[in-house]
């Protein structure tokens, strides 16, 4: 894993998928983001981030936990606040308590929303996620779970992302959330699954809604749309050839344009 080249964090906000036809497509390096070249790295990073214990890059991965989402946006501020709040809670039990407090703040979810289409797959607990795009093109989220700790996680994620623009939703990385983990870093893998799966679900469904919105408004599909398709065929870090038959072997999908800097 080449850490030095991927060390350079976002100097500018990453150009995430935008609903406007990108006029600066040619200028923005992201569009010439040679997907095949980067993807193995991103996938490997993703896998590595899940195996922090065993990865020799683990120390640097942990230090990257402090890197924030797109600069200068409300989302990144909220993320920063929440991260520092949890970081200040040194006792694991205090984090659990804080999460449980946040769980209580979670807005209730209608029974009608507790359907399998809204289930977040990959969690041991049941998590339902309802997502809409409002009239301003911002993402609105509601969630619920049968586990109080998972509810707490959802509550935090929603606090950060409810009302955010799609690109802000896409800009949050799972490493950013590792500070909120309940437990020591060594246990990241198990707890992170809930965070990660919920976040991934938020991001994947955001993309779907944005696509639908574009199609609905008769907009042109952005030129890199096929790349986004490809990414959604990445299943747990392995690239699947696009095929006519859709086999959903996935429990978590990679979001678009993540720069996994490990």
């Amino acid at each position: 894993m080449n850490t030095s080249s991927s060390f350079k964090v976002f100097a500018s906000p990453p150009l995430i998928f935008s609903s406007r036809p990108p006029k600066n497509a040619s200028q923005n390096p992201r569009f010439s983001f040679k997907l095949p070249r980067f993807c193995p790295k991103t996938i490997r990073c993703m896998r590595d981030s899940l195996n922090l214990r065993s990865s020799p890059n683990a120390p640097s991965a942990l230090s990257f936990a402090t890197v924030e989402a797109p600069l200068g946006t409300e989302t990144s501020d909220k993320l920063r606040i929440l991260v520092s709040e949890f970081r200040s809670l040194t006792e694991p039990i205090d984090r659990v308590k804080r999460l449980l407090n946040y769980a209580a703040d979670l807005a209730p979810l209608d029974d009608t929303a507790r359907v399998s289409a809204n289930r977040v797959t990959g969690c041991t607990t049941q998590v339902w996620l309802e997502i809409k795009m409002d009239e301003f093109g911002r993402m609105r989220f509601k969630a619920d779970s049968d586990s109080e700790i998972s509810k707490g996680f959802c509550s935090c994620l929603i606090w950060i992302l409810d009302g955010a623009k799609p690109e802000e939703v896409m800009g949050v990385r799972s490493e950013d959330l590792s500070e909120m983990n309940v437990g020591v870093h060594g246990k990241e893998q198990s707890r992170v699954n809930t965070w990660q799966n919920v976040l991934m679900s938020m991001q994947k469904r955001t993309m779907t809604l944005v696509d639908a919105d574009v199609a609905h408004r008769g907009g042109e599909r952005p030129p890199h749309h096929h790349k986004h398709d490809l990414l959604f065929k990445y299943v747990n870090g392995s690239y699947m050839e696009s095929s006519k038959v859709h086999h959903d072997y996935s429990i978590s999908l990679l979001p678009l344009y993540y720069d996994f800097t490990i």
Binding site: P92, I93, T124, S147, E148, I149, S150, G183, R191
Partner: protein, 466 residues
């Protein structure tokens, strides 16, 4: 005592000053007269009700260094042995020994190291055969684990013998490894899967199973001891009924072989599977017991070296069982370490281990059910019903994952939460997940006490947020 190169635990090591310091229960024992501890060391394996006799759990703890540690600031209380057991130092030494002194590929070379490795590997096979009273060590096929062993039967025996309309009987309480392979194979062959549900005691209904049997039944694949319900099925009876209709029986003995005497002659099962890592052995090795004539008739599962006789460009001929089903270089060190684990268990004695666990399991059940709002799954223990030493349970209004997280974070108690690879069973019971505390012979009464106290604390913690 069977087995080769094994360090006998000498009486010296049972002396008080050799018992690990810092363990609360040991310090209690140490305060009593050292003579009584010494003389009681070889006495029965009963759960210590007084400080005079040492229970089996206390006696063996020194062999398991991993248990003597703190997690999250509390002493580790390991109650997840049904997921995987801890290994005594003799097993780790056997593994180290193999790699350090005679690591070599087996069945291939004629040089000294290879011969020694082969001897030890085959000796391990003999130990497994003896452990379950198989008639011949050739009836033991080493696999990666029980899951692979079941897949072996499914793909090798199943694909050959199952025809459209044939029936395979399973229970709703099976582990996924004894459901999914049959699903895959029934898709390919057109066989039909039938499931036995639970009766009012929350045990698979053996009467219903008997009713389900018909000449169409080709296989009955059932667990011996359930990893969720802790129930024990009457395998001998089931085998008799199944054989009457001409069906074969596969026994998933993952939760029974480590905990009690399992005699395949007595059970008269056709196939039996178990994993090493649940019986104090390393991961990466397990075995399939198959009756000689059955294995003889089965085609290969995986192809490669070792399982062949002659290889030509357009075809190959295959080796005799068990080699026919052991393609490639096996997990040699692991098999030898499994042999060492079997020696260790045999030295204590499986009847003794079982007796200890029945008592400790009963104690766990009683203490757990004394807590309010706790629902334990499976049959109630009684004179006639011996539960396995585990309890899957749910606490009203508290998700098992939250429970397990708190127990771990705040109390260092390791239990499992989730569906325990038994989703159909959980669906049947009407829950999404459960928590499970499982014991092994190195657990003690104090472990159970710590767990119950921690659980009560957990429940009151979460209640305070309501």
């Amino acid at each position: 005592m069977e087995g080769v190169a094994m360090k006998l635990p000498s009486f010296k090591s049972l002396a008080p000053n050799a018992i690990s310091i810092g363990h609360r229960s040991f310090s209690r024992v140490r305060r009593s007269s050292s003579l009584s501890v010494f003389s009681a060391a070889s006495s029965s394996a009963t759960v210590a009700t007084n400080s005079e006799s040492v229970s089996l759990g206390h006696r063996v703890r020194k062999d398991f260094r991993i248990l003597h540690q703190e997690v999250n600031g509390s002493k580790l209380v390991y109650l997840d042995s049904a997921a995987t057991s801890q290994k005594p130092s003799v097993v780790l030494e056997a593994l180290q020994n193999y790699y350090e002194f005679y690591n070599s590929n087996v069945h291939r070379g004629i040089h000294y190291l290879s011969a020694k490795a082969t001897d030890e590997f085959e000796l391990a096979r003999k130990k497994v055969a003896r452990f379950i009273n198989a008639s011949d060590s050739k009836e033991i096929v080493f696999t990666r684990n029980a899951t692979e062993a079941i897949n072996l039967v499914a793909y090798s025996w199943g694909l050959l013998n199952l025809k459209p309309g044939d029936e395979v009987i399973l229970t709703v309480a099976e582990h996924h490894s004894c459901i999914v392979p049959w699903q895959l194979v029934s898709e390919k062959t057109g066989a039909v899967l039938k499931y036995v549900m639970l009766n009012e005691d929350e045990v698979p209904d053996v009467d219903k199973l008997r009713e389900m049997l018909s000449p169409k039944t080709k296989l009955v694949a059932v667990h011996h001891v359930s990893n969720v319900l802790a129930s024990c099925l009457p395998i001998e009876e089931i085998v008799v009924c199944a054989h009457n209709v001409g069906a074969k029986v596969l026994v998933d003995a993952c939760q029974s072989v480590p905990h009690m005497v399992v005699d395949v002659q007595k059970l008269n099962a056709d196939f039996l599977v178990a994993s090493s890592h649940k019986m104090c052995g390393p991961t990466g090795i397990g075995f399939l017991y198959g009756r000689s004539d059955l294995l003889q008739s089965m085609p290969p599962f995986l192809g490669g070296g070792e399982m062949i006789s002659d290889v030509f460009l357009d075809h190959s001929t295959y080796a005799e069982p068990p080699s026919r089903f052991e393609a490639g270089t096996p997990a040699i060190g692991e098999a030898i370490a499994l042999g060492a684990a079997i020696d260790y268990l045999s030295e204590i004695g499986m009847p003794k281990i079982h007796e200890y666990e029945v008592e400790l399991g009963k104690y766990l059940y009683e203490k757990l059910s004394s807590l309010p709002d706790v629902r334990i799954y499976g049959p109630r223990p009684s004179e006639s019903v011996h539960r396995g030493a585990l309890c899957s349970f749910n606490v009203e209004g508290l998700h098992p994952t939250d429970l397990a997280t708190f127990l771990d974070q705040q109390h260092g108690v390791a239990i499992r939460s989730g569906h325990h690879c038994a989703q159909p069973l959980h669906r049947y019971l009407g829950v999404n997940a459960s928590a499970r505390a499982s014991l092994y012979f190195y657990n003690t009464k104090e472990d159970v006490d710590s767990f119950v106290v921690a659980l009560a604390d957990t429940v009151s913690f979460f209640n305070s947020f309501k």
